[in-house]
C-alpha cells in the first residue's frame, strides 16, 4: 500500500487512476479503429480506389440504399408505435406504470440473438405464424414472411422500440399537469389538448428517440444476417462478407470507415440535440 501511496504522491492521484483504463482502451479500442481508417487509405500507398469503387458499383450503392431504407422505415415505425406505448405508460396509474415498464425493460435486456432466433421460429415458412394462419383457414399457401425487407423491419422494430419508448416517456412525464388543466379550462377538448400541448411538449423525446434508432439501425448486423438473408444485405453484412468470404480487407475497411464516420457524426448531432433537454435517466 505504501508503495502505491508514494507513486500517487509523485504523479497525482487522478492520473494514476485514469492511466490503466485509458491505456487499455487506447490499445484495444482506439488504435485498432485508427488502423481500420488507415487501412482503407493506405495499401500500402495512399489510394482512394476503395472509396471510388464503393461509389461507382451499383451493387454497393444498392446495399447502401437498402440500409438507409430499412433504417428510415424502422425509425418511422418505432416513433409511431413507441409513442402509443409511451402514452399508455405515461397516462396509466403509478402501479400499472411499473408493470407496463417491465414489459419494455425486460425484453430490452434479453439476448438480441435469442430474440432474433425466436422471430425466425415465428416467421419462417413452416413457422408458428404460418401454421396459425393455415389452421385458422386464412391462407392455403405459407406466406413469405422472412428473407425479405418486411421481415427485417418487423424484427428490427421489435428490437429497437425501447429506444423511442424511453425518451418519449420521459418527456411526456416531464409535462406539468398544470398545462393540461389550463388547456381544458380554456375550453380545449382532449384532442386539441393533445395536438397543441402534449405533442409539441414531447417532441424533444421523439427527436432523440428517432435519431438514436436511426444510428443503431445503420450498424445493425444480426437481424439482416439471420432474417434478411443474402438478398437483403445491409452495410454491416457487406463488411462481414468482404472480411470472411472475399478476404478483401482494405475494401471492408473503407466500408467500415464510412459506417463509423456516419455513426459518429450522427451521434454528435444527437448528443447536441439532447443536451439538457432530456433527463439523464431517459436511457437504459
Amino acid at each position: 500500500m505504501s508503495a502505491i501511496d508514494t507513486l500517487v504522491r509523485r504523479h497525482g492521484l487522478t492520473t494514476c487512476l485514469l492511466l490503466p483504463p485509458l491505456v487499455f482502451l487506447a490499445a484495444f479500442f482506439v488504435v485498432p479503429l485508427i488502423e481500420v481508417v488507415r487501412g482503407s487509405f493506405f495499401a500500402p500507398d495512399l489510394t482512394f480506389d476503395h472509396y471510388a469503387r464503393m461509389a461507382s458499383e451499383p451493387l454497393y450503392l444498392r446495399v447502401v440504399s437498402i440500409t438507409l431504407k430499412i433504417a428510415l422505415l424502422t425509425v418511422l415505425l418505432c416513433v409511431l408505435l413507441g409513442y402509443a406505448a409511451a402514452y399508455l405508460i405515461a397516462t396509466a396509474s403509478p402501479r400499472a406504470r411499473q408493470l407496463l415498464m417491465l414489459c419494455v425493460i425486460v425484453p430490452f435486456f434479453l439476448s438480441t440473438l435469442i430474440r432474433n432466433y425466436i422471430w425466425m421460429a415465428i416467421l419462417q415458412r413452416s413457422g408458428l405464424l404460418n401454421h396459425a394462419l393455415r389452421d385458422l383457414g386464412l391462407i392455403t399457401e405459407p406466406l413469405a414472411l422472412m428473407y425479405n425487407q418486411t421481415g427485417v423491419v418487423v424484427v428490427m422494430v421489435n428490437m429497437l422500440l425501447p429506444f423511442t419508448i424511453f425518451p418519449i416517456l420521459s418527456s411526456l412525464l416531464a409535462i406539468s399537469p398544470d398545462l393540461y388543466h389550463a388547456s381544458s379550462s380554456l375550453g380545449a377538448g382532449p384532442i386539441r389538448t393533445f395536438c397543441r400541448v402534449t405533442l409539441p411538449m414531447s417532441l424533444p423525446g421523439v427527436v432523440a428517440g428517432a435519431l438514436l434508432v436511426f444510428i443503431v439501425s445503420l450498424g445493425f448486423f444480426i437481424t439482416p444476417a439471420l432474417v434478411g438473408g443474402q438478398k437483403e444485405m445491409m452495410i454491416s453484412n457487406l463488411i462481414d462478407f468482404h472480411i470472411r468470404q472475399v478476404l478483401n480487407w482494405p475494401f471492408a475497411f473503407a466500408l467500415a470507415n464510412v459506417l463509423l464516420c456516419g455513426t459518429l457524426v450522427l451521434y454528435f448531432l444527437y448528443a447536441r440535440s439532447v443536451e439538457g433537454r432530456l433527463p439523464r435517466t431517459a436511457f437504459p
Binding site: I4, P21, V36, P107, L113, I122, W249, L260, L264
Partner: protein
C-alpha cells in the same frame, strides 16, 4: 363520460398491442422448449424435457456454456476494475476535462459492433491471439466498461464528499480512504455495474464471431452456427436457459440501478 372511457380504451388497445408485440415472442418460446418432436410447435403435443436433456448431455454445448461463463466472469472482473478506476478519476476532474473523457469512455457503446469486430479481429490476427480466452475477455471488456463507468459514476455523484475529505485530513492515504470510506458507499453500484458487464459478455455475438475462431466457441456463437445450419429443436430450450441466466443476473442489477436513481 362515455367519451373518456372510449378514449382510454383506444389508448390501452394501441399501447397494449405494442407492449404485447414486445413481450409475446419472449414468452412464446417457453412452451416451445418443452416439445418432444423435431418440428417447432407452440403448444407441444407431447410435452417433455427431451430438448433440455439433449442440451445437458451434449459435450459440445456444455463446452460452449463453460467457455461463455469463463469469459463472462473474466470480463466482469476486468471491466469492473477498469471501470471503477475511470469513474473515480472522472469524478475528481473539472467539468471541462471530464466531458470529453466521459464521451470517449462511452464510445464503445456507440461504434457499430461490426466495425469494432473487424478492428479487434485484425489486431488479434496480427499477434496470433484469435480464439484464445484472453482475447475474448479483452474484446468483451472494451464493450462492458461503459456500463460500469455509468453506474459507478452516478453513485459517486450522489456520494458525500466531506467524508472523503475528513478521512484524508485525518491522515489516511488515498488507497486507505478508498477501501475504508468510498468503497462501502458505492458497493451496490459496483455490483450492479459488474452484473451488467457479465451480461454484455454472456450475450455478445458479433465481435465474438470474429475473435472466437474455429475452436473456442461461446454459447451465442454456437447458437449462431446452429441457426445458420438448421432450425434445430434444441434451440428453444437453449433460449429459455439463456433468458433464465440473463434474468438471474439482470433483475438485481436493475433493482440496484433503480435504487441509485
Amino acid at each position: 363520460m362515455i367519451g373518456t372511457r372510449l378514449r382510454r380504451a383506444v389508448v390501452w388497445l394501441l399501447g397494449g398491442s405494442v407492449l404485447a408485440f414486445l413481450v409475446v415472442p419472449v414468452v412464446a418460446v417457453v412452451p416451445m422448449s418443452f416439445s418432444s418432436s423435431d418440428i417447432l410447435e407452440l403448444i407441444p403435443t407431447r410435452p417433455g424435457l427431451v430438448q433440455y436433456e439433449r442440451f445437458f448431455a451434449s459435450p459440445d454445448w456444455m463446452q460452449a456454456m463453460a467457455l461463455s461463463f469463463q469469459v463472462a466472469i473474466g470480463t466482469m472482473v476486468a471491466a469492473t476494475v477498469l471501470g471503477i478506476l475511470a469513474a473515480l478519476a472522472l469524478w475528481r476532474l473539472p467539468e471541462r476535462v471530464r466531458r470529453p473523457l466521459e464521451g470517449m469512455l462511452i464510445l464503445p457503446r456507440i461504434v457499430p459492433s461490426i466495425v469494432f469486430a473487424i478492428a479487434i479481429y485484425r489486431l488479434f490476427l496480427d499477434v496470433g491471439m484469435v480464439g484464445t480466452v484472453p482475447s475474448l475477455v479483452v474484446a468483451h471488456t472494451v464493450m462492458a466498461i461503459p456500463f460500469v463507468v455509468v453506474m459507478v459514476g452516478s453513485a459517486l455523484r450522489s456520494f458525500d464528499h466531506s467524508l472523503d475529505e475528513a478521512s484524508r485530513s485525518l491522515g489516511a492515504g488515498p488507497v486507505t480512504t478508498f477501501f475504508r470510506i468510498t468503497l462501502p458507499q458505492i458497493r451496490l453500484a459496483i455490483l450492479g455495474g459488474a452484473l451488467f458487464a457479465f451480461n454484455v459478455s454472456f450475450d455478445e455475438v458479433v465481435v465474438t464471431l470474429f475473435v472466437s475462431g474455429v475452436r473456442s466457441k461461446t454459447l451465442p456463437v454456437k447458437v449462431w452456427d446452429a441457426i445458420q445450419h438448421e432450425i434445430t429443436p434444441i434451440l428453444p430450450a437453449i433460449s429459455v436457459l439463456v433468458i433464465a441466466v440473463t434474468l438471474l443476473v439482470l433483475v438485481p442489477a436493475l433493482l440496484i440501478r433503480r435504487r441509485a436513481a
